[in-house]
Structures are given as C-alpha cells and as structure tokens.
C-alpha cells in the first residue's frame, strides 16, 4: 500500500515537471548591482522620451519642458523662474547701491587737501 502511494506521487511529480518545462524556484531578491537592475533604473521613464533632446548649433544640449518632472507635492519647478531672475537683478541693484553709499562716504577723507 505504502509503496503504491509513493510510486503514484513520484509519477505525479515527473508529469508535473514535464508539463511546466522547468523546475520552479523562489524568485530571487533584486540585486541592486546586477546589470539588469542597473539598466532598468537607467531606462528613461515614458514621459522623458516624448521628444529627443534638442541640440543647439554649437552642440550643447538644451533642456526640454517634457524632461522636467514636477517635484512631489509641489508645482512645476519652472514656477516663478522669471520672478527668481527679477529677484537676482534686484539683489544686484541693492548691493551696488549700498556699495556706492559706502564708497561715497569714504571719499570725504579727500577734503583735507590741499
């Protein structure tokens, strides 16, 4: 009785292996260093490949809007870009003005001549 059951189980196992074509094994954990994983990480997301990077006449690559990914929880990173530029100009004007103020007072030492 025992021998017949064992033989049946072995026959079942052989048939099952033949149907699948290979022996099943647990899926390996992702190896961060494996070439396949690295390639998958480097592959561009679909939204990044909607257009090729335009190249200027001098060969420099320019950024496209399509390649910009919004920051999580924030607006598009280009938001306020022009305002940022305006603020840079205001800081420059302010710095120049204050430097001129100090230089103007430094000149008073010249009053001792002749």
């Amino acid at each position: 009785m025992m021998r017949r059951r064992a033989a049946t189980l072995m026959l079942f196992a052989v048939v099952a292996a033949g149907c699948s074509g290979q022996t099943q094994s647990p899926a390996p954990a992702e190896d961060p260093a494996s070439p396949a994983t690295t390639a998958a990480r480097q592959a561009p997301a679909p939204s990044d490949v909607t257009a090729p990077e335009p190249t200027a006449e001098d060969g420099t690559v320019t950024t496209t809007t399509a390649a910009i990914e919004p920051a999580a929880g924030g607006l598009d990173p280009t938001v306020g870009g022009e305002i940022d530029q305006t603020l840079d100009e205001l800081v420059a004007k302010l710095d120049q003005a204050i430097a001129g103020l100090e230089a103007g007072f430094a000149e008073e030492e010249g009053e001792i001549t002749p």
């Binding site: 919004p70 920051a71 999580a72 929880g73 924030g74 607006l75 598009d76 990173p77 938001v79 306020g80 305002i83 940022d84 305006t86 603020l87 205001l90 800081v91 004007k93 302010l94 003005a97 204050i98 001129g100 103020l101 230089a103 103007g104 007072f105 000149e107 008073e108 030492e109 010249g110 009053e111 001792i112 001549t113 002749p114």
Partner: protein, 254 residues
C-alpha cells in the same frame, strides 16, 4: 568722533608742514603781527616766487580732482534708472554751480602771485564747495534712496505675481507656507520704502555753509537709515525667494 579728531589732526599736520616748509612767514605774520622784525627776516630768506608756484600747483591739482569728481557724479546721476527727475535736476544744477565756482577760483589762483593770498584761496577750495564732505555723500544718498524705493516697488510687483500663482495653485495644494513667506516679503517691502524715501529730501539741499551742522548729522542719519532699509529689503527678497521654493516643493524654505 574719532574720525573727526583724526581728520582734524591731519589738517593741522598738513597745514603745519606746509607752513614750515613754504609759507611760514605768512602764518607768523597772521598770528604774531607785532613781531615785524622776525617777518622781515623770513621774507628775506625765502623765494616767494617758488613758494607761490608750489601752492598754486597744489591748489590747481585739488581743483582738477574736484572737477573730475563732479564729472563722475554727473555721469552717475544721468545713467541712473531710479533717480527721480526732480532729484536728478537738483543734483545736476548743484554740479554745474560747483563747477562754475571752482573754475572761477582756478582763474583767481592762476593769476595770483602772493603766497599769503594763494593760501587763503587754496583754503576756500574745500571750505566754499565741500565736494567731498557734502556733495559726494549727499549725491549717493539721493541715488540710493531713490533706488531702494524703486526696488521695493518692484519687489511688491513680484510679490503680486507670486500671489497670483498661489491663488491659481488649486485646492489640492498646500500653499500655507508659501503664503506666510510671501506675506513676510511684502511686509519687508512695505517697511523699507518709508525708511529710505525721506532720506533724499533731507539731504538734497545741503550746501557748503551747512557743514558741519546740520550736514554732518543729516548725512550720518541718512546713511544709517539707508543701511537699515537696504537690510530690510534684502530680507524681503529672500522671503520671496523662499516663497517660490515652497511653491515648487523644494522644502528648503526660510
């Protein structure tokens, strides 16, 4: 105070050196008019023509330096994008008057041969015009005052643009931090302009007879107020930058 003491010491030492090497008889004649014998002895020993030439050269060089400074100030005011039309007109008129006065004085000095008279004329180059004690600092204060007011106005305009972005961000966005920073920026802009604005008016009419009082006090106060307004405005600019970063979700807010 220390600066005044140093300046006074420099003036005294300069005068002492000049008198000792060149025009000692003239100074002695003014301080001790009763000792005529001594004066005559000095007059006999010095070459008055050479002394007069040395004084004349130094005086004319000092006038040239002031004329160049007036040219530089004229170019600065004419090139400024922010000086108001009224302020520019007042400053340019001052420069023209000072130039005319200095050129007339240069003519007098060039024609004079008496070392004693030349010394008096040379002294008036500083005392009658105060190019470096009044004209230069008041000019820069007017320019900086008008510039700060203009920058504050532009900051408020940029703030309005950021407000529009916040208003259009949609209800699913958390814009509370950006709004807080924007409010801080606008408060800074609103505080800076009223501090800087009155400075130009308080100094623009200062002239040589106003030295030292009230010119020294008003110019010092103006300089201090403009520094304060400049710092406030710089803070406002940084607050607005931080508001924009908060809107982008950069996280690094101030």
């Amino acid at each position: 105070m220390r600066k005044h003491i140093v300046r006074r010491a420099l003036v005294i030492s300069l005068a002492a050196g000049l008198l000792a090497t060149a025009a000692a008889p003239a100074a002695i004649a003014q301080d001790e008019p009763q000792d005529t014998t001594r004066i005559d002895r000095f007059d006999d020993r010095i070459d008055t023509v050479a002394v007069a030439e040395r004084i004349k050269d130094a005086a004319l060089a000092a006038i040239d330096r002031r004329l160049e400074t007036l040219d530089r100030l004229t170019a600065k005011v004419e090139a400024s994008d922010h000086v108001t039309r009224e302020h520019a007109a007042a400053l340019l008129a001052d420069y023209r008057d000072a130039r005319a006065g200095l050129e007339a004085l240069a003519g007098e000095i060039a024609a004079e041969t008496d070392p004693r008279v030349l010394l008096e004329l040379a002294a008036s180059i500083a005392a009658d015009f105060r190019i470096y004690l009044i004209v230069v600092p008041k000019s820069v204060e007017v320019v900086v005052s008008d510039t700060i007011v203009a920058v504050a106005r532009r900051l408020e305009e940029a703030g309005a643009e950021v407000q529009a972005i916040i208003d259009g961000a949609g209800h699913d966005r958390d814009v509370a931090e950006a709004q807080r920073l924007l409010n801080a920026a606008m408060a800074d802009a609103a505080r800076a302009a009223p501090v800087a604005d009155p400075v130009a008016e308080s100094v623009i009419d200062l002239a040589a007879p106003d030295w030292p009082d009230p010119a020294d006090r008003l110019l010092s106060q103006g300089r201090s107020d403009l520094r304060t307004a400049g710092d406030t405005l710089r803070s406002g600019i940084e607050h607005l930058r931080a508001a924009i970063r908060a809107l982008r979700g950069d996280g690094a807010t101030g």
